[in-house]
Structures are given as structure tokens and as C-alpha cells.
Amino acid sequence: MSILVFIEISEGEIKKSSLEAISYAAGIGGDVTAIAFGEASNDALSAAGKAGATKVLHVADEKYKQGNIQAYASALAAAVESTGAETVVLAKSSLGDPVSARLAIKIGASLATNVTELPDTSNGFTVKRSIYTGKAFANVDLTEGKRIIGIKKNAAIIKEDGADAAVEAFSVSADDADFKVTVTSQEKATGEILLPEADLVVSGGRGLKGPENWGMIEDLAKALGAATGCSKPVSDMDWRPHHEHVGQTGIKVAPTLYIAVGISGAIQHLAGVNSSKFIVVINKDPEAPFFKAADYGIVGDAFEVVPKLTEAIKALNN
């Protein structure tokens, strides 16, 4: 089977979620080709080989530098045609989802996003996907000859035992109709650990009383090497930027460790964190609903507990 993987580049390197997509594709079995857009060195791209790709197609054309959804979908359709891929794999993201949807129409494919496990191919092609914002799963048969799978974070463990992949330039004849949207600028938190990809997350809620108290959340996150998040009221009140808002209507995270400080654990918040492997809850109210979803809990005042926890983590690291 020939599989095409759409990989995203961030600051010249393949994103971790895209490496997961490559390893997922390798797990299906078959010949895995990755396709990347934008600025990246051949060395950075050939690293896709370690995760399981044999070849990387690189669309370096300036026109494809910005994440243009329509143009990417057209280029991917051309790559599906030239590689003869039956299956396309990508990581679920703000780019992956819309690109996969347009591609599905172009190539007449079955599409499933939010996929959490390798497909079952014993009788057709069945994938398991997360639904009801993590509260359940659905097993879905992809019935068309071509299929596209958008994988959720942690759907695959990144392999590191492959060999360097060959990098080839891939050119597409650009259609003007695909360039009707102009990206005028981007605002991106640089140098920080990005929340959707983070392995460890420390989140604060309304219990922290105000933005001036976020220093202790940042200190704990720094000691852990974690990303910071927050509950919805916190971003609604502009205590923290919107891209930190975790939950049903915010970012859905799937870290190995989620630490919630001064967050009550409303069902809409839980919906964004229920894929976390371990949850620690710090709340002064022993009745806070979050304790029911937690693995470890501390009933106490965040202003006393968090600095002590930060010190204990620092002591461990030294």
C-alpha cells in the first residue's frame, strides 16, 4: 500500500505531531511518502525517515510558504495522483483539518479525523475516532477506495529506528483560484512550548484571582518544562491569551501530565483534558468536581501549595 503523509514544518523542523503521523502511517504498513511545504533544509526533512518515511516531497515554491488551505489541498491531490497513494495521513491541527476536508472532496476519499488508533484492516478499513469531545469513541468504516485519516495527538509513538529519507523537490502547477485568501500576518508565541503539542501542561483557573498571580503558574511550568493553559473565564477576562484556553470550546490537550490549579472542573473544561494520561488537581474546595477526574489531588490553597510544589520539582531536577 502506498501512503502519503502531509507534514507540517515549524521553525524549519518537522512538527512533533507530524512525526507521529509518519509513524502512524508506517504502522499501517506500506510505502510511506511524506510531503512538506515551505522553508526547511534537506537535513531537517530527511529526518522524516527516522520516523518511518522512505521519501519526502518538498514543495519549496514561495507561493506555498504561507499555510494556504486551498493551495495545499490541490498540491496534495497532485501528490496523491503522482504517488498512487490510497491512504493519506495527517495530524489533526488548525491546518490539517481544513486541508484534509478539501482534499477528500478533490480525490473522492472517505475521511475520518480525531483518529486515536491504528486501523483495523481485517475486514475493510475501520478506524476508531474520539467523539463527544473525548467522552466516547466511534468505530467507523472508511468505505471508499481512497481514505484520509487525521490523527489525534498520541495516536502513535514516534519511531526513531528508520534511515534518512530521500528528499525530492515536488512542483505543482499553481491555480490562481487557489490563492484568493491572503495571509497578511501571523502572531505566534515563539520559544514557548505550544499547548496543543505539549507533554506536560500546568493550567490555572479563576481560583488564581487575577493575572498578577500567574507568575507562580509560570514558575511551576518552567520547573517542569510544561506549557501553560487556563480555563475559559480566565481567557474571557483577558487574564491570559485566548490560545491558552483549554476545554470544549478551547484547545483540547492530550499531555502525559495535566496539572489543574484553582479550576473547578466543569464538564466543559474536562472535555478538553480527558485525554490526558495523568491529572493532578489542586483546589481548596474538597467538593470540586475536578477531583473525580483526577489521578492525584491536593485539597489546599494554591497560593501555598504551588510554590512548594515548584520548589520540590526544582529539588528533584538538581
Partner: protein, 245 residues
Amino acid sequence: MKILVCITHVPDTTSKIAFTDGNTKFDQTGVQYIIGPYDDYALARAVELKEQSGGSITVLNVGEAETEPTLRKALAIGADDAIRVNAFPKDSFFVANQIANAAKEGGYDLILMGRESIDFNSGVVHSMVGELLGMPSLSPVMTLDIEGSKAKMTREIEGGKEYLEADLPLVLGCQEPIAEWKIPNMRGIMTARTKPLNVVEPADDTVRTQLSTYEMPPAKGAVKMIDADNVSELVDLLKNEAKVL
């Protein structure tokens, strides 16, 4: 400006999720249905745009008769008329196809919907509709301003946002903080009863996926409580038991 807002009819965010018939059917017992929260944002922005510069808002839902109260609520919030495509929403492709078919002749300047439904969370219908209609599509859109025939938008990206511009028509998947949610007032509720709700039959039946069974996640073990005066115990457990440090 002519705006089409596509809304989903979904279980309330606090619903307990359960399945029946050997895990093949969603258990509706005690479940309240609402307009999808992301669709609510799309509708609220449409109402604001109409207040600013006039035009009309049509709401559309692909669903069977039971979704009509949800459509009436959207009419009460400020839509002028409603279309119900009389079919059970079988998969994303099916829904997108129905929306594109219903919108084809409508001459809409904007087709707005939520970034994703909160039941199936696919997040792909807007972009499928865009592709089917040959229009640009963007999602998740956080702000939208219209100046003449041009739209200025911001879109959420991992760890930040992107500023974009495009000419209408456009298909957009919306999310907060694009607008403040609107709550229907008494006058809205009264007038909604007399606004047109047109039922159309589905264009065709094509689906590209088949749902076989549902599954619940494994039950969570009990929480281990640690004394607030003993945080080093927590660190110890995270290191040696959970092995996450």
C-alpha cells in the same frame, strides 16, 4: 448581504453520554438538545453583521423533524428564515453535500457555521462545503469584519493567530471570540413562530463512511489524595508511580 448560517442540533454540553442496542445507538434518555456552541457564535456574528449593514440571515440544519425547535430558537435569535434538509445527518460528507446543494442557487455572500459539531467533532464540513461550491473556506475563524466586498479575519493557529483577507463569498468555520452569544428575547420568540421554516428533501444519499459501533473510554481509577503539607509525596508519586517526571 445574504448570510447562510448552518447549525447543528447537538446534546447539551453537560449531557451524560451513553449508548444502547449493543452500542450501536446514542441513548437520548434525558438528553437536552441545543444549537452547537460554535454554531451559536456563527449565528451571533451573522446577527451583528445584519444589524450593521442590513441583509438577511437564513439558518439551515440537516436533520429530521425533531430538530425544528433548535431551528426555531435560531429564528428567535435573529435569523429571517430557516431551511431544514429532511435527513438524518449520516456523515460529514453527506451533511456537506446537502448544505452545498441547498446553498448552490442561494447567492449567499457568507456561509457561516461552527468550527466543529460537539457530537462528532470532525471539524471538516465547512471546508468540504467550500470545496464543493468552489469558494475559499477558513476555520477556525476568531474575528470577522466586512468592508464592502472584502472580509478581514483572524484564524486560530497552534500557539497564536493568523490575520487574513479575502473577497466574498466565503465559507467560514467560527469560534469564540467572534461574537457574544445571543439569548432570544420574548419578542424574538414570538416572531420566530411565524417566520418561514422550509423543509426540503435531501439531494442524494451518498455517504463515504459507515459508523459500526460506539465505545466508552475505560473507567477511571479512584483519585489518590495527598496532604497539602506533603507536596514532596506528590512529586514522588509522579516520578515513581506515574513515571511522568
